[in-house]
Amino acid sequence: MKKSIAKRPIFMVALINVLAFALLFIYRTPLNYQTLYVGGSILALNLVTYTIIRYYRLGDEYLFLIVSMLITIGVVMICRINYSLGIAQVGWYLIAICVFYLVFAAYRFIGFWGRLRWLYLALAIGLFIATQIIGTTINGAKNWIVIGGYSFQTSEVIKILFIFFLSCYFGGERDGFVFNIKEKYFITLMTYAFMGFLILQREWGFTLLIFATYFIMLYIYENDRLLLLANLLAAFFVGFAGYKLLRHIQIRIQNWINPWDDIANTGYQITQSLFAIAAGGFFGRGLGLGSPEVIPEVYSDFIFAAICEEMGIFGGVAIILLYLIFMYRGLKIALALGDGFDKSISLGISIMFGFQTFIIIGGVIKFIPLTGITLPFISYGGSSLVTSFVSLGILQAISAKGGAE
């Protein structure tokens, strides 16, 4: 059955792209033709990739549809805040798409990913140590490595390694021993080791993300409810100890409960974010008509506040729903698969996306304490974008396999 072009969802993505970039173009005087190139490149990349996925039957087409919408909104907002970053983001998007195809092919046609657990562990630990030794501190977190002028955030890579590492266990028989330790305890121990390293790097957001992902995976696979309970207690204990001992965490909790007492200092970021959301109202001030640039780090962690200011609460809700559908598609892929490595990987990736979105959006709107982490596919940043596309490539490959079998 043929649908008319206008009824296909990709048309909506293209329409938003054209409208938003046209608005950006017209508003700024003198006219900046780069806007059109940026919009055009994004549109072309989206259309080409979508067409390839569709015609070569590379699995679930909705995953990429949602992502292309998120990318479009992300680049529009980044361009609106800072032009040069917007152009850089287009470059990262091009690289990310290439990585996406590579990962897709590698995952689709190589079958032994489930047997490399020691490699993932070694790589992760290597990265941790490298970050500690040659890492650079950006924004109070020592989690960047600079290679040849480009810096990348190691924790973004580590989170994918972590999913692979977990899946080697959850996707396998789950009753082996490592050094005379039952496998499930070994995994637990390693998770806490990951978290320990991340805490050393002041990566509160990633620490939370790793734990939440591990916990939900354990909930899904593990029948030992006592272990779940023990984990919950441990998390509570660690959180409480952190609150008592670490000023970083105390400040975050304080600023969650009441940021208004210290607007000028520690509460500055979150209050600026709330000012932006309040300014937007339900319908937003309109693209280019707000002042999101006064929020620190608005192009990365706080981009959701900028979206709410200019596209309104309704715009923000639409973004949240897109993520929800994306995650639902991911978990649906996992549901269709039999027990195994693929199922576990697709679970891990979907759950991690879900939590990452929840943690940063919840933080920016002050629903939960703020822990810095990027908003997948929307925030500016090469590491975040490329690793998000690595995850997408894997999901895509798994869904393609499922379709082929």
Partner: protein, 461 residues
Amino acid sequence: MINKRIIRVIFMFTLMFIMLIGYMTYFEIFQSEAVHQNPYNKRQWAYEEDITRGSILDRGGVVLAHSQGTERIYSYGPLYSHVIGYNSKIYGKTMLESKYNKYLLGQDILTQVFNLSGDKKVGYDVTLTIDHELQRFAAKRMGGYSGAVVALNPKTGEVLALVSKPDFDPSDQNLVENWINLTESEKFPLLPRATSGLYAPGSTFKIITSAAAVENGLGDEEYMDYGTVKIGNTEFQNYGKKAGGALDLKKAFAISSNTYFCSLGAKLGGEKLLAFAEAFGFNRVFDFDLPLEKSRFPAAKGDEDTAALAIGQGEMLATPMQMAMAAAAVANEGVIMKPHIVKNIKNSLGVTIDETKPQQLYRAMTAQTAEKISQMMVDAVKSGTGTAARISTITVAGKTGTAENEFLGREKNKEHTWFVGFAPAQNPEIVIAVMLEYSGKTGGDLAAPMARDIIMHYFGK
């Protein structure tokens, strides 16, 4: 089993995301307004630079405040400092400038959606129910006294005049130059006395005591007035210890006999008095256009307490606005219409954005009781303590009051004086409350003639 749990996880995430959406909606509806107005919000300043703030006009269209560029000009200087307030980048916004800021800036959902052009925007104009001529006259007539004048239309609740003294020049320049003086002065020029000042209402409260008595079947009580009466361990006195002889309610009201009302109050009891005070608006709040302090009436702890409360003394405090509302209840057949000061809001094209419609606020008493009290108030002006408010061509109803305060016993001649009333008594068009702080004379000597002149001015005599 695994798939079952995955489905539960899907539900969990759906719930989490719905909570995010719910919280955002909650934030927008209940918190965003306060957040938006936060003085640290740089956006607000930025927007205001681009908007010509709307004007504020009296009911007849006289411009009371307008903007030239970013400068706010108050045409009548201090006259509206306690109504319009001020709009200062440094000291913030108060009164109507604060409460109606959103409209004065022309920011509501409609303009946000439809005003897509980047042009210089013009805010909405706010028209008040205030009668500028009356306001001007009332302020002038008050002279150098500290205090307040409140004038209402009892049938609609429209505020016709709202004067608080001392006042101050609300221009930004004056605030910058005199801020320390204004905030530290012992005369408290920044206090809007008419709406936020709390005073013992004295004998004007006898209006409410009388209403309570009539409605509780004590309208025909008679007492002998010997000039003083002892209730519990306290001796209550009439003004100047004058003995009134045998009194009924009507006569006692006209000469404002304290001994009569103390006895009546004690018989009535604290609970019934409290119930009526609350029916008239004590201990209650409503959303007025300006910050309105809650008038207080305590639960009495025995007959002595009740007796003191019945004559408007004791731990009771009322704003001049509250006492004007009490008189308005009598004037409007027992119903207090909701006081309001903003008549309508129009955009720069003259399209009405919002309009205040008269609304019933409280029913204080039955129409029959109101009729009785009204007659008593007419008598008080005709032949009682309020004769100074008499006008030959218009029947004025009123009640005077002279209230003790914290200076009692230490310094003489520091009483607050009151007059509340309305005219014409048969078909009231204006309710007035005059309160002068620490003025040291009786309400009959000082406040009543002031009220008379203001009423005469209103009717153009």
